[in-house]
């Protein structure tokens, strides 16, 4: 457990660094791909349990430290995404080996579509109603497409490194 935790902490730190230092500059149609949202989804689908939510919160908070939006918004989205992925995993949906090959990418695409909306809803709770005024639709579509493309390699890679695997039912 402690070895898994250490591995996840290092991987989360590296992913947030890639997010802040690399992906912030490599914009697709002006949109930043939010790997910090895809990461808790991957961990949840791989059956990391509550650790997925913890890592979602940690990666979100580290990202929030660099963003001018309300502190904690991305952490809230990370936790929500992890919780949803955990629920899917517990119901046997999106199993990387058992389900059809397109299931995980399709679920990741849904995550990419919904996560920006979650951020805006979370922002409304902090009385910040300006978030929807950006390129919301482009952000949703770009993240959905990239999440779909990246999900399977990230799932396979994470499983190889951490040894995580969804519980078989």
């Amino acid at each position: 457990m402690s070895r898994l935790l250490a591995t996840l902490v290092v991987l989360t730190g590296l992913l947030v660094a890639v997010q802040v230092d690399v992906l912030a500059h490599v914009r697709i149609f002006g949109v930043v791909v939010m790997v910090v949202w895809l990461w808790p989804f991957v961990l949840g689908l791989l059956g990391a349990g509550p650790l997925a939510m913890v890592m979602g919160a940690v990666s979100g908070l580290c990202f929030d430290a660099h963003a001018a939006t309300t502190f904690g918004l991305n952490a809230a989205v990370g936790v929500a995404v992890a919780a949803a992925a955990l629920r899917l995993e517990r119901n046997g949906v999106g199993d990387i080996d058992g389900a059809a090959w397109w299931t995980a990418p399709a679920l990741a695409a849904m995550t990419g579509l919904v996560a920006p909306l979650l951020l805006i809803v979370a922002g409304a709770f902090t009385l910040d109603f300006s978030l929807w005024r950006g390129s919301l639709l482009t952000t949703m579509v770009v993240n959905a497409v990239v999440f779909a493309l990246m999900s399977r390699p990230l799932l396979v890679g994470t499983r190889m490194i951490t040894g995580l695997a969804p519980a078989r039912r």
Partner: protein
């Protein structure tokens, strides 16, 4: 006397909480403290990623963009020559203006002290248009100070730490600025439309005509958030509704916000 494990844990946690609280206080506010703490935790990871990613990025960029760099270099040399010529001509004019300024007691932006700062990072999110500068409160920067670069207004400082500051760009959805134009000095509000979406202005009276390409300057009205006379935006399109007493326009920032490397922070505070 040996301490029980639970008591030892409680003492350790209390010490850690105390150190954290002191750290947060020293960092200047809880929000800034948490941000600083998270930034500090992430620094080794950032360093590692940059170590790997930066050379690869430079290699790819160099291979793909070499011809662009050559032509850009030639253009820059030509611009530098023109700028040097203009600087020589302006030197005399500036002296005359300073003399007039002294006589008439007019505010002149050229006399406003400024601090040069480097842009160290751009906003990593899709929901806020900001940049981070290399200088902060220790260099005299305060929230609200205007930032200019690349020939126009870039934005305003919204937060400072001891050694850094965050600038909200004029394109941010939370940004709005008073601008003035025309012979009647009509004043209108220019609003940011979010990352990559430029600016917009509405409610322009039909009696105040605009032309495409016209430069809009910051207003010097009392209570303005900027000193007057700074180039803010350029008109790109005009939308007139027949029968309406006002019209709207789409404008773009004069400053190239996609290529910011160094900026000038004007040590100017809005009057209360």
């Amino acid at each position: 006397m040996a301490l029980s494990p639970s008591r030892r844990r409680a003492i350790t946690l209390s010490v850690l909480a105390g150190v954290t609280a002191v750290g947060l206080y020293q960092a200047g506010g809880v929000g800034n403290g948490i941000r600083g703490l998270a930034g500090g935790v992430l620094r080794p990871f950032s360093w590692t990623v940059n170590l790997v990613a930066a050379p690869i990025g430079h290699l790819l960029a160099g291979a793909v963009n070499y011809s662009d760099l050559v032509s850009q270099n030639q253009q820059l040399r030509a611009q530098l020559g023109k700028a040097q010529l203009a600087a020589s001509v302006n030197a005399g004019a500036s002296q005359t203006l300073a003399a007039l300024d002294a006589v008439l007691h007019l505010p002149f932006i050229g006399s406003t002290p400024s601090v040069v700062a480097q842009v160290v990072s751009v906003s990593p999110t899709n929901f806020a248009a900001t940049v981070t500068l290399s200088k902060g409160a220790d260099d005299g920067l305060l929230p609200g100070m205007p930032v200019v670069a690349n020939g126009g207004v870039v934005g305003r400082i919204i937060a400072t730490t001891n050694h850094g500051s965050t600038v909200r760009l004029v394109t941010d959805a939370n940004s709005s600025l008073n601008v003035t134009f025309g012979k009647q000095a009509t004043t209108v509000l220019v609003d940011g439309r979010g990352v990559n979406n430029g600016l917009s202005m509405s409610g322009i009276p039909v009696t105040a005509p605009l032309t495409i390409g016209q430069i809009l300057l910051s207003s010097s009205l009392s209570g303005s958030t900027m000193p007057g006379g700074l180039p803010v935006a350029k008109v790109t399109s005009i939308a007139v509704t027949p029968g309406s007493s006002t019209y709207a326009a789409t404008v773009s920032p004069v400053a190239d916000l996609n290529h910011l490397s160094f900026v000038d922070v004007l040590l100017w505070e809005p009057s209360t």
